[in-house]
Symmetry: C2
Subunit: 362 residues, 2 copies
């Protein structure tokens, strides 16, 4: 897959850039994208060895060769991030709060005993990559380029101890405005996502595989996703697999506090800030399953929605708990919809950005 | 690294075998092996695609090429096993309860939504591999070949859902009788290894990375390992990072019951069986931290040891809890030592095997 190289240069930050000879963009049908399957022409890579990050490089997207003893295969020492680039009508490219993702990948890494990645490499690598692959970011509200920074442990040794070698990479996948269908969730009664004192607050690779089997069971029961409850009592609602969760009871929003079990979502914290502006009260506190079930019965539960980079705000139309199913009302004045519109307008440079959340790539 | 091929044949089970042209065994210093760094000449691989396991193959040990979007890198969908092959004085090769490892890798896989691996492929692949690399199994009490079967998710897609493709592999690493030095453990007060309803009972890759950071902290405090406590209260002792744990109070052994948080160790269950034979009482029940601390103070705590394939039985000479350090007495009649001798004699075909635990490779 590695195309012939036409440019090879070193810039001030010692970033080596090798461009593809010919872009594969012509082969892509941008009107029919499946999430996460197609990647742009280039990728960013950087290696950690002998106690330091070295060889930051942008090169043609392609396979990596790894020994079967490579630690990531055996001990799951890997973390990732998810962010998006947006293009406005003037072909300007924007990121949304990328500093948050940068900080979080290092926070995740620290919990997994991985070395901190330097800020300059992260931003330089990311921005040069986006500029090189800018044709892959399509205009149009909802279109974006999904960006996946990740780090894997690359030491070739099967002893169960932190790796001495790592590879940091950024790959990018074009994404369409995406309608996930009607989402119904199951409140977890038995399985758990994270332990107190565990790694739930990190975007650690292993957290995701751990959810697949229970999610399969939920899907067989007619739900698309799970809302995880605390592992200890299963009485408190925490978050979904890749989204934080908000409940609207009457005119008030309720969401669980972040903790060492819950990912501190960038969309979640943005929603909380926007709510203040919109005079919507948000209570950040433990959310009892029983409270939500009662509110659903009494009709006070107006909305549930998830927040996350992939879908921004994902409305949830119903939930299941202990063999009972609840449907939520269809709302005229959905908070979720209002947050989504506001957030997307900021992301696509169509609205004022009073918080300074937008970050231009130029 | 792929050597030229000299033999290529299909046997009855459609196992394709490609031998190396020249073994690299001459280059290895078997008197100075670091655990898990050197691998034998061959490896076993098998791929899952289109709903079925296909192409079981033994070939020269070497790198694999993977797309950066491969799911194992992002979502930690990977499980493994650890087992050993032993050589007796007549050059016969033995495994110890391999059926247990086979069953456990599928149990781990099921929890991570991975497809079951067929028994015939597992045993045929493993045995042919061991026969091909038999020179790597060195005679001598304590020498062995560490065997690492593992499965990784290989679908090339970053959406957070179970992979549709997998690779099963077996790699083998020669291991020496191994003295781990004096092991002191810390009882965990804050961090946790596993949640109720989580994946602690599976040999899931992500469980191991999650332990690295707390273990680093324990090491800085002068301990080699952690004994994990329950995530909920931290009042009950569960297991160590790669060992189950036994406590001897007076003449009685106590060990935690297996659960969805604790790995069902093969060595653990063998020790429990042997104890019965040796008229040692074993209580399988929750073990309170407070009970062990009290027993240490009163002098009733005689021994702590870990059980696991890597070291068989690992004596623990002291422990720390809440800024207090406790040292254990040096014993003449150590249970741990007795179990280790008995187990190893069975493993090396030097003692009667009344349980039928030995499995000959021929
Ligand atoms: C477990 C989990 N919770 C929540 C989120 C939402 O976080 P963010 O809004 O930063 O995308 C994600 C996804 O990124 C996640 O993986
Ligand atoms: C978490 C954990 N506990 C216990 C063990 C011991 O199990 P076994 O005796 O089967 O090697 C292992 C290692 O294999 C392990 O990884």
């Amino acid at each position: 897959m590695l195309a012939k190289l036409i440019i090879m240069k070193y810039d001030a930050n010692q970033l080596k850039i090798t461009e593809v000879q010919k872009s594969k963009i012509e082969e892509i049908n941008f009107d029919n994208l499946v999430f996460g399957e197609i990647f742009t022409d280039h990728m960013f890579t950087c290696d950690y060895e002998d106690g330091t990050w070295k060889n930051p490089e942008i090169k043609p997207y392609g396979s990596i060769e790894l020994d079967p003893s490579t630690k990531v295969f055996h001990y799951g020492q890997a973390v990732f991030e998810g962010m998006k680039a947006y293009k406005d009508d003037k072909d300007q490219i924007w990121l949304f709060r990328p500093q948050q993702n940068f900080e979080r990948i290092n926070k995740s890494g620290a919990r997994l005993a991985m070395p901190e990645f330097p800020k300059e490499y992260f931003f330089k690598g990311l921005e040069e990559l986006l500029k090189l692959d800018k044709e892959w970011i399509k205009k149009g509200f909802g279109n974006s380029l999904y960006i996946r920074p990740f780090v894997i442990a690359t030491e070739e040794c099967v002893s169960a101890s932190p790796s001495t070698k790592y590879k940091f990479m950024i790959i990018c996948s074009p994404a369409q405005a995406y309608y996930s269908g009607e989402v119904r969730v199951q409140f977890s009664e038995k399985y758990s996502r994270a332990a107190n004192g565990g790694v739930g607050a990190a975007k650690a690779a292993g957290n995701y595989a751990a959810q697949f089997y229970p999610t399969n069971l939920a899907q067989e029961a007619g739900f698309q996703q799970i809302i995880w409850t605390d592992a200890n009592t299963h009485e408190f609602l925490e978050e979904a697999g890749t989204m934080n969760i908000f409940f609207r009871i009457g005119d008030k929003l309720v969401t669980a506090p972040t903790s060492d079990r819950i990912l501190d979502g960038v969309t979640r914290k943005s929603v909380i800030d926007l709510a203040k502006d919109m005079n919507i009260e948000v209570e950040i506190r433990r959310v009892k399953v029983a409270e939500i079930v009662d509110a659903a019965r009494s009709g006070e539960l107006k909305e549930i929605f998830g927040s996350g980079t992939a879908t921004v705000i994902n409305p949830i139309v119903g939930f299941g708990y202990k063999n009972e199913k609840f449907e939520l009302p269809k709302l005229e004045d959905s908070y979720g919809k209002a947050f989504k519109d506001t957030l997307m307008k900021i992301q696509y440079n169509q609205a004022e950005d009073k918080y300074g959340w937008r970050y231009q790539v130029k």
